[in-house]
């Protein structure tokens, strides 16, 4: 006869949810207080913990578009982040419980400075900027998003890549317990992305840690994600835990999944259609039911800043 063993934790020993939450608040308040002391003495980005915490010392950028940004609701409820499900609203629904702290980022490969850094330490040398960018998804919809982030070029320079470093590769956290979407092999986990060194040091590329002046919500890739506005949205890898300087072109997730549909470059290009749908136009989110589609622009309208990166490259073959 099978006798169920009683739970070996007494009811009185279990921390009540309220106390647990209080404890978190206590730690959070402490870390913010500690951080602001540091901010007074040192330069650089200080990132408070928690969703929707206001980011301090954010400067404006000349790279921002003057187009009106999408609503906070649009930006945070309509996302592709397969680590939390494949539906557009799945990340919003499923990422709420995700804890993005403590977080560490490993920098490795062909660079003078490598190692594993606490997220807070990783951020310290850099300055926060607001960058209001257009975002064009490969699925032919688009948004305007007011990111807050740090220049990826500054990050690359900081770690001093050697002459062998031709590419920068990124990886997302691989943790099926915390990221329920990873329990199904819709894509190969962890999610991987990559840029050439020239792309990574283009002044438009940023690592975003916030949106609308506040810390990044989990569904948008907390605590840190890539934003490369002249490329399709899937290049913007979320929840980054690893940055590698490589000599070889790194494998990237959507290219692994369907090489004929998604290339390494993934530059926005209205003249090169997806094999199954047209890329000539896009639906701007937030226009409502009766807004027409709008024409998609080469390099998502950022040609002036990035077109030279692809001189002599056949963009039909290197899509």
């Amino acid at each position: 006869m099978l006798i169920n063993k009683p739970a070996d934790i007494r009811q009185s020993e279990i921390t009540s949810e309220q106390n647990y939450l209080n404890r978190r608040d206590f730690i959070r308040a402490g870390s913010i207080a500690g951080a602001s002391v540091l901010a007074g003495t040192a330069f650089g980005a200080v990132i408070p913990e928690g969703e929707r915490a206001k980011l301090p010392d954010v400067s404006k950028s000349a790279f921002s578009t003057i187009e009106a940004p999408n609503s906070y609701e649009d930006v945070t409820t309509y996302n592709n982040y397969y680590e939390f499900g494949t539906g557009k609203e799945d990340p919003y629904r499923n990422a709420g419980q995700f804890e993005s702290r403590p977080w560490s980022i490993t920098v490795d490969g062909h660079a003078e400075k490598t190692g594993t850094f606490h997220f807070e330490d990783f951020m310290k040398p850099f300055d926060l900027e607001e960058r209001i960018y257009r975002m064009r998804c490969v699925e032919a919809w688009s948004m305007v998003i007011p990111w807050v982030g740090i220049s990826l070029a500054d990050v690359v320079k900081h770690f001093q890549p050697t002459s062998s470093a031709k590419y920068v590769a990124f990886e997302t956290l691989n943790d099926p317990v915390r990221m329920p979407g990873q329990r199904r092999r819709v894509l190969e986990w962890p999610y991987k992305e990559g840029l050439t060194i020239a792309e990574a040091t283009n002044p438009l590329a940023i690592l975003a840690v916030g949106v609308y002046g506040e810390t990044l919500p989990n569904q948008n890739g907390a605590p840190i994600r890539l934003v490369v506005p002249w490329k399709y949205g899937f290049k913007g890898i979320k929840g980054i835990v690893r940055i590698s300087f490589t000599e070889e072109k790194p494998p990237v997730s959507w290219n692994i999944a369907a090489a004929n549909e998604y290339g390494f470059y993934a530059n926005v290009n209205p003249e090169v259609n997806h094999p199954r749908w047209s890329q000539a136009s896009e639906r701007a989110i937030g226009g409502g039911l009766f807004a027409p589609r709008k024409p998609t622009r080469m390099f998502n309208g950022y040609g002036e800043q990035v077109a030279h990166l692809y001189d002599g490259l056949d963009l039909r073959k290197n899509f």
Binding site: Y78, Y82, A258, R276, S278, S281, I285, L289, F290, P292
Partner: protein, 208 residues
């Protein structure tokens, strides 16, 4: 009330209202009464009409196997209504695409050339459109009078409901970006429904 009266005065009105419910919810959500459309409302409406067209073709194709297994012959009486609702949702799906998504109703720069390109050069759209054409022909010929006039040709024509099932699932499958799990579910249901027909046909000798 006898069975036929129950079907006519209770069953049919009830099924009619049930079939109308998904469309009513789309309208309700569009006006913010029953809920809300997603951040991409056109896509939301397009997907919902399309999904219900697929679900209803499956339900329509379930009528005959269910009748044969249970012996409830009155189920046949719902077949035409279910088929017509399949057509209705497929048509709404198509009109949403044409009028709102491609912009015939809202875009001053609307171009038929772009529509033609989509219909001919995007195979998943071609397939979906073919399914809609077949559904249209079946809907037009679904009246008692047409059935009488067309005799055996009517049966032959309306066998294309199987083709609609296959084209519909194919159309769904081909537009999915990566996660084909829902497409698999529809494909398996369709395989069971069509497999059942093949099985019953070859199991017993055909009677004269």
């Amino acid at each position: 009330m006898n069975t036929l009266q129950k079907v006519r005065f209770v069953g049919k009105p009830l099924v009619f209202l049930l079939c109308l419910l998904p469309a009513a919810l789309v309208v309700g959500d569009a006006f913010g009464i029953t809920g809300q459309l997603s951040a991409n409302p056109v896509e939301d409406i397009l997907d919902r009409f399309g999904n219900w067209a697929i679900r209803l073709i499956m339900i329509t194709l379930s009528v005959t196997p269910l009748r044969q297994i249970t012996g409830w012959n009155w189920l046949t009486r719902f077949r035409r209504m279910l088929g017509l609702f399949t057509f209705f949702y497929a048509l709404m799906h198509f009109l949403t695409w044409l009028l709102l998504d491609r912009g015939l109703a809202v875009d001053p720069a609307f171009q038929w050339a772009a529509i033609f390109e989509d219909l001919t050069e995007r195979p998943f759209i071609t397939i979906g459109f073919a399914a809609l054409l077949l559904l249209t022909v079946m809907a037009v010929t679904s009246t008692n009078g047409m059935r009488r006039r067309m005799r055996q040709a009517w049966d032959k024509l309306h066998y294309s409901v199987y083709a609609v099932g296959v084209l519909g699932v194919w159309h769904y499958w081909w537009q999915v970006k990566k996660d084909t799990s829902d497409a698999w579910i529809y494909a398996i249901i369709l395989a069971v429904l069509l497999g059942y027909r093949v099985w019953t046909r070859y199991r017993k000798p055909v009677r004269a």
